[in-house]
């Protein structure tokens, strides 16, 4: 019997399919069909007949993680399936075990990096430019996000396949922790800046008005008092209030509607502008 080998073109085809991982997301087994479909080129190369049916079945099990880091699980799984198809002593349970064992920790890394840091930072940068009507805004967001995403997907599949199960033990090390914490630091620092700079609350309500000795009229508004303390104090307090409400499981849309009401009432009373 000749050795069954996963080729580069199988991995490339897996990479293309990995872009559709979440296509059939459902509440029963989430990304399961997507994972199976991504692995089909490899499985077809390795198995026929009854063995193929069993392989398809085991990759239709529950699967859910952050979609970009999922590719490294695909790579590792492909390496394990290859060994199994060539007679290595790997049972079905250990393949499923590796998948299930990795999806939680990897989501724990992928969520803060991609959804917590990369996307909000690039989106805020792009949106800031877009407000002036510049096409650079959407372009910078779309291109830079997708370059990083595609590189992650590509590298995940090839590195995962090359290293195989060896990668599982590597992930237990400190590298992933450094990556997660480092990106959280970056994300939080930029988020702090955004709270202060990229929000606008203007409270033009006049507190006092008098004519100074030099004949100039000095107007004190709520806003000017707050700005002389710490600019951005109100958005900061609002952010903390929202964090508290979200932790109490209040639906974000309810909070958004609440803030809309504040805006409308505030504008109507002349407190906000």
């Amino acid at each position: 019997m000749t050795e069954k080998k996963v080729t580069k073109s199988d991995l490339v085809s897996m990479f293309i399919r990995s872009n559709f991982l979440l296509g059939s997301f459902n509440f029963e087994r989430m990304q399961s069909i997507g994972f199976c479909v991504s692995l089909i080129p490899v499985l077809k190369k390795l198995y026929q007949g009854e063995e193929l049916k069993l392989a398809l079945k085991r990759h239709l099990e529950f699967f859910n993680t952050q979609p970009f880091v999922a590719t490294s699980i695909m790579g590792i799984t492909a390496a394990m399936e290859e060994q199994k198809a060539n007679g290595a002593n790997i049972d079905e349970g250990s393949i499923s075990g590796v998948k299930i064992g990795l999806m939680g920790p990897l989501a724990g890394v992928g969520d803060p990096i991609f959804w917590g840091t990369l996307r909000p930072v690039l989106a805020a940068l792009g949106a800031g430019l877009a407000l002036t009507g510049s096409i650079i805004g959407p372009l910078i967001f779309f291109i830079s996000f997708n370059i990083i995403r595609l590189a992650t997907n590509w590298y995940g599949i090839f590195y995962g396949y090359e290293k195989g199960t060896q990668l599982v033990s590597e992930m237990g090390g400190n590298k992933l922790r450094y990556l997660t914490e480092g990106s959280s630091v970056l994300g939080l620092l930029v988020m702090g800046a955004l709270v202060s700079k990229w929000t606008s609350i203007n409270m033009p309500f006049v507190l006092s008005k008098y004519t100074a000795a030099n004949g100039k009229e000095v107007v004190t508004t709520i806003q000017s008092v707050l700005d002389s303390l710490i600019p951005g104090l109100v958005p900061l307090l609002l952010t903390f209030a929202c964090m508290y409400l979200l932790k109490k499981n209040v639906n974000p849309l309810v909070i958004i509607f609440g803030l809309f009401a504040v805006g409308i009432v505030g504008y109507a009373c002349g407190l906000l502008a």
Binding site: F20, E50, G137, L186, L189, F257
Partner: protein
């Protein structure tokens, strides 16, 4: 709107709908979806500005785990059509976007529930060794997500700009559209709060305050903050790496002690 524009609009809506479930290329984000709608309807600048406004609103809307965020795809597409074709203000665009995001959330939850049917169909094809069948189930699920945005977009595309719709939008009192625009300036804090909660890193909050103070008292732009953030991250990683060394060293000591015993 001529029929070519309508076809292109449906296409863009379908791409946004697919993006909303895939979450890969980000075609469902307001910044991209509104720009594309603007391009198709011949007023890209308005599309970009509306996209930027809604993007800041939706900054923290993300699907993490099994939780569903408000739906940016449907909100962006519909509100861009109404603003551009109906010549409405950005404020009116925000006013319609939020309720539609809630409706879109309900729709996507509905589709993700129906897709359970395809999951079981895929099981059946797996038992037959039919890989084409499984692939079909997968892409039918994706098609449903495209349709869920494309159909409402087509309907609104046909109706937008008609007197009835314009009269309806004009009936929104000015205090509401202006008030919504005012709240549009700070509603983004909900997004920030969602992102910070998701990071769930209380011990790292000092870095958040550093960013806040730098922004309050300097004129850094976003690139400057990014650079400061990278430097802070390097320092932080070095300090936790040192911690690890200290822990390892004491770990060795502990082993030595037990050897002595």
């Amino acid at each position: 709107m001529d029929s070519l524009q309508l076809i292109l609009l449906i296409l863009v809506a379908a791409i946004a709908g697919m993006g909303s479930v895939l979450d890969e290329a980000q075609t469902h984000r307001p910044l991209i979806a509104c720009t594309l709608v603007g391009l198709v309807l011949g007023d890209i600048t308005t599309g970009i500005i509306l996209g930027g406004t809604l993007e800041l609103l939706a900054l923290g809307w993300m699907n993490v785990g099994a939780a569903m965020a408000p739906d940016a795809a449907l909100a962006s597409v519909i509100s861009a059509i109404l603003v551009i074709v109906g010549h409405q203000s950005i404020g009116a665009g925000i006013a319609v976007a939020i309720p539609i995001a809630a409706a879109g959330q309900v729709l996507t939850i509905f589709v993700r529930t129906i897709t359970v049917f395809f999951q079981h169909l895929a099981d059946k094809y797996a038992a037959e060794g039919n890989t084409r069948g499984i692939e079909m189930c997968h892409f039918l699920g994706l098609m449903l997500q495209a349709i869920r945005v494309a159909v409402p977009a087509a309907i609104v595309g046909v109706l937008a700009g008609t007197d009835a719709v314009n009269a309806m939008l004009a009936a929104i009192p000015e205090v509401i559209t202006r008030g919504l625009q005012v709240s549009g300036g700070f509603i983004v804090v909900v997004g920030y709060a969602m992102v910070i909660n998701m990071m769930n890193a209380k011990s790292l909050m000092p870095f958040f305050f550093i960013g806040f103070l730098l922004a309050a008292f300097t004129n850094f732009n976003l690139i400057g903050f990014g650079a400061a953030g990278v430097i802070a991250a390097i320092f932080h990683i070095k300090s936790i790496a040192n911690e690890g060394n200290v822990a390892n060293a004491s770990g060795v000591d502990a082993v030595d002690d037990s050897d002595l015993l």
